[in-house]
């Protein structure tokens, strides 16, 4: 009598496997819960929006043809990031994305105002330095921290967005840095670039980064004194 | 001494100076090697912004030119000496070629097709470049390709036309018809 005859027909048994393959070392916990993730994403969206607006606005103000075209292309990159973050927010229980699309503090608003202040056609160096030597490095830092720290199991959608954004940020950073290097031809221009960078860097420091204090975590150790 | 007459001698619709046009014409004529006792008439249609130009008579020598052909395309209604020299030089080579004995079998200008015009122009303008004029080589390549095809064969024919110094009408005809798409 076969299993079929006995009415105990089953699919042929296979050897069981672990749900995580041996090379899949992802762990469950991450640094950020849903609410904290949404808060940061809202700040990222605000920052990317301000950045793409500025790049778009500057196109008409720069006489250098190669810079003009690059700004147009980069404008879209950051708008694309803003859109990805915008779509992520409702998935993090924020049904009104505009509620979280805010700066972390007034200090970051001051930074953005200072970054977008140069307008004259002779200030291409300042415009580029603000973005490519101050803002983009800070953005890369914040996104890298977030990507590395969030849960690779529960928050994979955010990681995917951050990785796409980071690819653009690195390439645009390189593009922008090369444009700056090609535009700086005199010691005076070196000074101009450095002065503007220092001014903006201090404002960004006061803001604590693009997501406010804790944008890239805190590496310092509290030592208990005897 | 070259006798160059520009009509009109006063321009009212564009900011051309007949004396400057005559001066450019004289300079080009000397460089391309027109006889010094030549009389040349230039009829400029100042009301036309187009770029047409032709030898309207070989004897006496008369060129008819749309004002746009001499115009500075960056500053409309103003004269461009470079463009003026380019146009006049090209037309002057027509005169030189037809009187060389090597173009006796060439049809009248009105009976030559556009491809042959482009080929003859390539030969003329190449010679102008070697005299120090700036005749926009790539523009001539594009015109030639439009008439003969966007092919390597056409490009090779252009190089030969451009780089040669004294081609006959038969040579020009051979190179043009031999590379048409």
């Amino acid at each position: 009598m076969t299993d079929r005859d006995r009415g105990t027909c089953m699919a042929e048994s296979k050897r069981p496997r672990e749900p995580f393959a041996p090379w899949d070392r992802r762990e469950l916990p991450g640094l950020f819960d849903v609410e904290e993730t949404a808060r940061r994403i809202g700040h990222y969206k605000w920052m990317e929006t301000k950045l793409f607006e500025a790049l778009g606005g500057w196109v008409a103000t720069v006489p250098e043809l190669d810079v003009k075209l690059r700004l147009g292309t980069h404008c879209y990159h950051h708008a694309f990031h803003a859109e990805l973050f915008h779509k992520r927010l409702p998935e993090l229980r924020e049904m009104k994305p505009e509620r979280l699309t805010v700066p972390p503090n007034e200090e970051l608003v001051a930074f953005v105002n200072a970054m977008t202040e140069p307008e004259a056609s002779g200030q291409t160096i300042e415009k580029l330095v603000g973005v490519y030597r101050v803002l983009l490095p800070a953005t890369i830092a914040a996104y890298t921290y977030h990507r590395n720290g969030t849960s690779r199991i529960t928050d994979m959608p955010t990681i995917r967005i951050l990785e796409m954004a980071l690819k653009d940020e690195y390439e645009d950073w390189c593009d922008g840095e090369m444009l700056i290097q090609s535009m700086i031809e005199t010691p005076e221009e070196v000074d101009r670039a450095a002065a503007h960078q220092a001014k903006l860097q201090k404002l960004l420091l006061a803001a604590g980064g693009i997501a406010g204090p804790g944008s890239i975590g805190d590496p310092y150790v509290d030592v208990v004194e005897d | 001494m070259l006798d160059i007459e520009v009509t009109p001698n006063e321009f009212t619709m564009v900011f051309f100076d007949a004396a400057v046009i005559a001066e450019v014409a004289a300079d080009v004529a000397v460089k391309v090697g027109l006889p010094e006792d030549l009389k040349l008439s230039l009829i400029v249609d100042e009301g036309s912004p187009l770029g047409r130009s032709r030898v309207s008579s070989y004897d006496p020598i008369e060129f008819t030119i749309d004002g746009g052909a001499f115009e500075d395309t960056r500053r409309p209604r103003n004269l461009s000496k470079a463009r003026t020299a380019d146009v006049l030089g090209r037309l002057m080579y027509r005169v030189i070629d037809r009187s060389s004995g090597q173009f006796d079998d060439a049809p009248e200008d009105g009976d030559i097709d556009l491809a042959l015009h482009a080929a003859w122009d390539a030969h003329s303008v190449g010679r102008l470049e070697r005299l120090g004029f700036s005749p926009q080589r790539k523009r001539r390549v594009y015109q030639f390709r439009n008439r003969h095809g966007f092919t390597d064969r056409a490009d090779q024919a252009f190089e030969e036309l451009w780089g040669s110094s004294e081609l006959s009408w038969a040579d020009i005809e051979r190179l043009s018809t031999g590379c048409r798409a």
Binding site: V59, T61, E64, L69, L71 | G47, R75, P76, R145, F150
Partner: protein, 265 residues
């Protein structure tokens, strides 16, 4: 940086020379300059000056693309999300920035292919001026529907020119740019409808602004719907981009009107 950046201050390098509207419209050669009777023959390679006309038109396209890029960029910056425009409208404008930057790159490559130098022809900033309108709806209608609509017509003509001339580069490039322009016009059509769905007066004003721009950029009938129009209205692609037959008929009538006015001027 200011909101609304004036056309007089558009930044250019030394190769580019600007021609004012005043200078352009006061040219006593009149209709023959704008594309009237003498220049109104269809743009084909068979014409004696066909290649040179195509070169000049291509340069006009190039500077137009720069201004379209600048206009789209300004629209990203000049308006506040929520108060003035939806977030999605700005995303569309940023996308247009990218597209127009690519068109500039394509135009530069085509200029080299055709033997044209950058800045060889004077630049007129009328396109960017249409992009300076303080009402974003009028801006999109004037630029995206009227001017990008013209771009559809021009690129179709250039594509056909490339096809007739056997120029694979020109035909290829124009076709790619044409695809993008249909997207841009559609953006204009879609935003006009959605932003004025409950505001018929604003919509009417926007369409009137579009008519003004359409008529101005018919260049005295140079762009029209007649068989001998040098630049032909491209009904098929305009339909894809959200134009109704009536709207295209209206543009054709405006062109005939402009042509008639130029003939009697």
């Amino acid at each position: 940086m200011r909101k609304i950046f004036p056309a007089e201050e558009l930044a250019r390098d030394s190769r580019f020379i600007r021609q004012s509207n005043e200078a352009r419209f006061s040219d006593p050669r009149g209709a023959r300059v704008g594309g009237g009777s003498a220049a109104s023959t269809k743009l084909t390679p068979e014409q004696a000056n066909g290649p040179d006309r195509a070169r000049a038109l291509m340069h006009g396209i190039f500077v137009g693309e720069i201004q379209a890029l600048e206009g789209a960029g300004r629209t990203c910056f000049d308006f506040e999300v929520g108060e003035d425009v939806p977030f999605e409208l700005k995303l569309d404008m940023a996308r247009q920035c990218w597209d127009e930057a690519r068109h500039c790159e394509i135009s530069v490559a085509l200029a080299d292919h055709m033997g044209t130098e950058l800045g060889e022809y004077a630049e007129n900033t009328t396109l960017y001026e249409a992009a300076c309108n303080p009402d974003p709806v009028l801006r999109l209608t004037g630029v995206n529907r009227a001017l990008e609509g013209l771009a559809i017509d021009v690129f179709s003509t250039m594509k056909e020119f490339g096809n007739l001339a056997g120029d694979p580069v020109l035909e290829f490039c124009e076709d790619w740019m044409l695809a993008d322009e249909v997207t841009h016009v559609k953006m204009g059509s879609d935003w006009l409808r959605s932003l004025t769905a409950k505001d018929p007066e604003r919509r009417s004003k926007a369409l009137e602004f579009q008519r003004v721009v359409d008529k101005l950029f018919s260049f005295s009938g140079f762009r029209g719907d007649d068989e001998d129009s040098p630049i032909k209205l491209t009904r098929q692609f305009r339909s894809l981009a959200g134009f109704t037959d009536d709207e295209v008929d209206d543009i054709a009538d405006l062109a005939r009107e402009a042509k008639a006015e130029a003939a009697t001027a």
